[in-house]
C-alpha cells in the first residue's frame, strides 16, 4: 500500500484531537501537560510530512524550533507544577480555582 500525505495528516489530526481532548477533559495537571506535548508533536508530524512531500526544508527547520521551545517550556512548566504541588499538596485542576471571585 502506498503511504501518501493524507495518511500522515490523518495521523497528525488524530494525535492533535487526542491531545486536545486530554487538555480539556483530564483532571491531573501532569497529564494535561503531556497532552499539550502530544498536540505539539502532532503539529511537528504534519510539518515534517509537508516538508517531505514539497521537497522543501522549511518545515523541518520549524520542527527543530518547536522541539527546542517545547523543551524549554516543559522545564519551566514542570517546575511550576512541582512548586504548586508543594504548596497545595495537589495537582488537580479542581483545586486550582483561586482566580474565581
Amino acid at each position: 500500500m502506498h503511504v501518501g500525505l493524507e495518511h500522515y495528516l490523518t495521523v497528525s489530526f488524530l494525535l492533535f484531537a487526542l491531545g486536545m481532548l486530554g487538555v480539556i477533559m483530564r483532571r491531573n495537571l501532569i497529564v494535561i501537560y503531556m497532552s499539550l506535548e502530544l498536540m505539539l508533536n502532532a503539529a511537528n508530524l504534519a510539518l515534517v510530512a509537508f516538508s517531505r512531500f514539497n521537497n522543501k526544508l522549511d518545515g523541518q527547520v520549524l520542527v527543530f524550533f518547536i522541539i527546542t521551545v517545547a523543551a524549554a517550556e516543559v522545564s519551566v512548566g514542570l517546575a511550576l507544577i512541582v512548586a504548586l504541588y508543594r504548596r497545595r499538596q495537589s495537582a488537580h485542576v479542581e483545586d486550582l480555582t483561586g482566580m474565581k471571585l
Binding site: M20, V23, I24, M25, V93, E94, L96, T97, G98, M99, K100, L101
Partner: protein, 622 residues
C-alpha cells in the same frame, strides 16, 4: 501725541488700583485708600488737563484700536471724545473722587476697608469705560462690569442676609434689562452691520429709514438696558433695596453715576430712537417720576427716601430724553450728581453719628449737634427741590420747559406735580431729622463727623449751589445741537429760566412753595407721621411701595419657581432616573450575567478557547 495717552491713563488707572489692592495691599489700609483715591483724583486732574488742552470738541474725536475681527464683525476698543463723554468724565472722577475721600471717614472702622476701596476702583474703571466707549459691544462689556461691581458693593456687608438678597436682586433685575439691551445691539448690528456710534449715526442721518420696520423695536430693546440700569418702571424695584450697601456706595453708584448710565446711554444713541420710541420713553420716565415720588412720601428709612427720590429724578431725566431734550436730561444728570451725592453723603454722616440708625422717627434735633451736616443737607434739599438759584432749579426748569415746548401738557403737569411732591417729601425728611425734638436716646450722643467726611460735603455743596449757572447747560447744548450759543452775561444766565420760559419757571416755583408749605404744616413739629390718618388707604399703599414687590413675588417669582420645579422634576426623574438609570442599570445587568462565565476552572477556559478557535477556523475556511 501725548494727549492720546490721557484717555488710556484715565481709564486704566482705577483698574490698576483695584488689581494692586486686591493682590498686594489688602492688609495695609492706608496704602489701599491712597492708591484708590490717587487713581481717581489723577483721572480727574488728567481730564481737566485734557479738556484745557483740547477744548470741549477736540480735533480727534475718536481713538480706536481693533480688538476683534471675525468675518464681517469688527469690534474696536476705542474712546469717543466729545463734550458728552468729557463732561461725564469730570462728573465720574470729580463726584466719585469726593465720595472716595469721604469713604475713608465712613468706612474707617470696617474690617473690609481695603476690599471696599478695591471694589470702588473697579466700579470707577467700569463706569469710565461706559462713558468713553465708542461702540456698542465695548459699552455693553463695561455695562455688565458696572453691574458686577454694583453687585459686589451692594453685598459688601454680605454677612447680613438682607444685603446679600439686595445684591442678588439688583443683579438679576439688571440682567433682565440687559437681555433686552443685548438683543437691541444685535438687531442694530444685524441690520446696519456696524457697532460704531459715529458710523451708525452717519448712516442713520444719511438714511433715516435705514432700520426699516424694526426701528421701533430696536430702539425699545436698547431702551430696556436703560430701564434696568436707571431703574425705571417696571424694573425700578432693585434700587431702593440697593440701599443695603454702605452709604458712600449709595451715593456713588445709586445716585451719582451708575444709575445715570442709562440716561447717558440714551443720549449717546439718541439717533437710533424714532418718535414712537421717544414717546414710550417719555411716558415711562414720567410715570416713574410720579410713582417714586408718591412712594417716597411715606418711607421712614432716611436712605430709602433719598433712593426713591433718585428714582423720581431719573424719571425726570428719561422723560426729558423722551421729549427730545437730551440737553435738559444731561444737565439734570449733572446737577443731580452733585446734589444727590451731597444728600446721600450728608445722610451717611447722620447715620454714622447715630451708630447706623436709619429710621427718621428716631432722629430729630440734629441741627445743633451737627451744624456742617445740617447746612450741607439743607443746600442739597433746596437744590433737589429746585429753589433758585441752586442748580436743581435750572435743570428741572429746562426739563419742564422742554415738556412745554413739545406741547405735551400731560407730562408737563406730571413734572410740576412731582416737583411739588419732591419738595414735600424731602422737607418732611429734613424737618423730622434735623429740627424738632430729639426722638431717641442715640441723638443725645451724636456729634459732628470728622473733616475727611465734611470736606467732600462742603465741596459738593458749593457745586450744588453754583452748578446751575456755570455754563454746563451751554456745553451740552452745543454738543447736541451743534450750535454754540453766544455766552450770555452772568446775570442773564442767572435769570435765563424766567426769560426763556416764564410759565415753566413760575409754575415750578409755585409747586415748590406749595410743597414746602404742606411739609411745614404737617411735619415741622411732628412727633409721629400725621399723614396716614389723613390719607388712609392711600398712605398704606404708598408705605408698601404700591405693592410692587408683592406683585412681582406673586407673579414673576412664583412663575419662575414653578418652572424651576418642573425643570427639577424633569432633571431628577426623566434625565437622571430614566435615561441615566437605564444605561447604568443595563451595564450593571450585563456585567452580572457575564460574571457567571468566569468559573475559575482552567478547563472551562481551555474549552472556550478551543471553541473560539474552531469558530474562527470555520469562518475563515468556509
Amino acid at each position: 501725541m501725548q494727549d492720546q495717552l490721557f484717555p488710556w491713563l484715565i481709564l486704566f488707572l482705577p483698574l490698576f488700583a483695584a488689581v494692586f489692592i486686591t493682590l498686594f495691599t489688602l492688609h495695609s489700609r492706608g496704602l489701599s485708600a491712597f492708591l484708590s483715591i490717587g487713581a481717581i483724583v489723577t483721572g480727574f486732574i488728567l481730564s481737566i488737563i485734557f479738556i484745557n488742552a483740547n477744548g470741549w470738541n477736540p480735533a480727534t474725536t475718536e481713538i480706536s484700536r481693533t480688538w476683534l475681527s471675525i468675518g464681517s464683525l469688527q469690534v474696536d476698543f476705542g474712546f469717543k471724545l466729545d463734550a458728552l463723554s468729557m463732561m461725564m468724565l469730570l462728573i465720574v472722577t470729580g463726584v466719585g473722587g469726593a465720595i472716595h475721600i469721604y469713604s475713608v471717614g465712613y468706612m474707617h472702622e470696617d474690617s473690609g476697608f481695603s476690599r471696599f476701596f478695591a471694589c470702588l476702583s473697579l466700579f470707577t474703571f467700569s463706569m469710565l469705560g461706559i462713558v468713553l466707549a465708542n461702540n456698542f459691544i465695548e459699552m455693553f462689556i463695561f455695562w455688565e462690569l458696572v453691574g458686577v461691581s454694583s453687585y459686589l458693593l451692594i453685598g459688601f456687608w454680605f454677612e447680613k442676609p438682607s444685603a446679600g438678597d439686595a445684591a442678588k436682586k439688583a443683579f438679576i433685575v439688571n440682567r433682565l434689562g440687559d437681555f433686552g439691551f443685548l438683543l437691541g445691539i444685535l438687531m442694530v448690528w444685524g441690520i446696519l452691520g456696524s457697532l460704531n456710534f459715529t458710523f451708525l449715526k452717519g448712516q442713520l442721518i444719511g438714511n433715516p429709514a435705514a432700520l426699516g420696520a424694526s426701528a421701533t423695536i430696536a430702539g425699545l430693546l436698547v431702551f430696556c438696558g436703560a430701564v434696568g440700569k436707571s431703574a425705571q418702571f417696571p424694573l425700578h424695584v432693585w434700587l431702593p433695596d440697593a440701599m443695603e450697601g454702605p452709604t458712600p456706595v449709595s451715593a456713588l453708584i445709586h445716585a451719582a453715576t451708575m444709575v445715570a448710565a442709562g440716561v447717558y446711554m440714551l443720549c449717546r444713541i439718541l439717533f437710533l430712537l424714532n418718535p414712537d420710541c421717544l414717546s414710550v420713553i417719555a411716558y415711562i420716565g414720567g410715570f416713574t417720576a410720579l410713582l417714586a415720588a408718591l412712594i417716597a412720601v411715606q418711607q421712614d428709612d432716611i436712605k430709602r427716601i433719598i433712593a426713591y427720590s433718585t428714582l423720581s429724578q431719573l424719571g425726570y431725566m428719561v422723560m426729558s430724553v423722551g421729549l427730545g431734550g437730551p440737553t435738559a436730561a444731561m444737565f439734570h444728570l449733572t446737577t443731580h450728581a452733585f446734589f444727590k451725592a451731597l444728600l446721600f453723603l450728608s445722610a451717611g454722616s447722620v447715620i454714622i453719628a447715630l451708630h447706623h440708625e436709619q429710621d427718621i422717627w428716631k432722629m430729630g434735633g440734629l441741627k445743633q449737634k451737627m451744624p456742617v451736616t445740617f447746612y450741607t443737607f439743607l443746600i442739597g434739599t433746596l437744590a433737589l427741590c429746585g429753589v433758585p438759584p441752586l442748580c436743581g432749579f435750572y435743570s428741572k426748569d429746562s426739563i419742564l420747559a422742554q415738556a412745554l415746548s413739545q406741547q405735551n401738557y400731560v407730562l408737563f403737569a406730571v413734572g410740576v406735580f412731582v416737583a411739588g411732591l419732591t419738595t414735600f417729601y424731602i422737607f418732611r425728611l429734613f424737618f423730622v431729622v434735623f429740627l424738632g425734638k430729639e426722638k431717641s436716646e442715640a441723638v443725645s450722643h451724636a456729634h459732628e463727623s470728622p473733616a475727611v467726611m465734611t470736606l467732600p460735603l462742603v465741596v459738593l455743596a458749593v457745586f450744588s449751589v453754583i452748578g446751575g449757572f456755570i455754563g454746563i447747560e451751554g456745553i451740552y447744548h452745543a454738543m447736541f445741537t451743534g450750535k454754540t450759543e453766544e455766552s450770555a452775561g452772568f446775570a442773564s444766565t442767572l435769570f435765563a429760566p424766567f426769560t426763556h420760559s416764564p410759565v415753566a419757571a413760575s409754575l415750578g416755583i409755585l409747586a415748590v412753595i406749595i410743597g414746602f408749605v404742606c411739609a411745614f404744616a404737617l411735619y415741622a413739629k411732628a412727633e409721629k407721621d400725621p399723614l396716614p390718618e389723613k390719607l388712609g388707604g392711600l398712605a398704606v399703599a404708598m408705605k408698601n411701595k404700591f405693592y410692587f414687590d408683592e406683585l412681582y413675588e406673586a407673579t414673576f417669582v412664583r412663575a419662575h419657581d414653578f418652572i424651576a420645579a418642573v425643570m427639577d422634576w424633569i432633571d431628577r426623574w426623566l434625565l437622571e432616573g430614566f435615561c441615566i438609570g437605564l444605561i447604568r442599570g443595563g451595564t450593571d445587568l450585563t456585567g452580572r450575567a457575564l460574571r457567571l462565565v468566569q468559573t475559575g476552572n482552567i478547563q472551562t477556559y481551555a474549552f472556550m478557547f478551543v471553541l473560539g478557535v474552531a469558530l474562527v477556523l470555520w469562518f475563515v475556511l468556509k
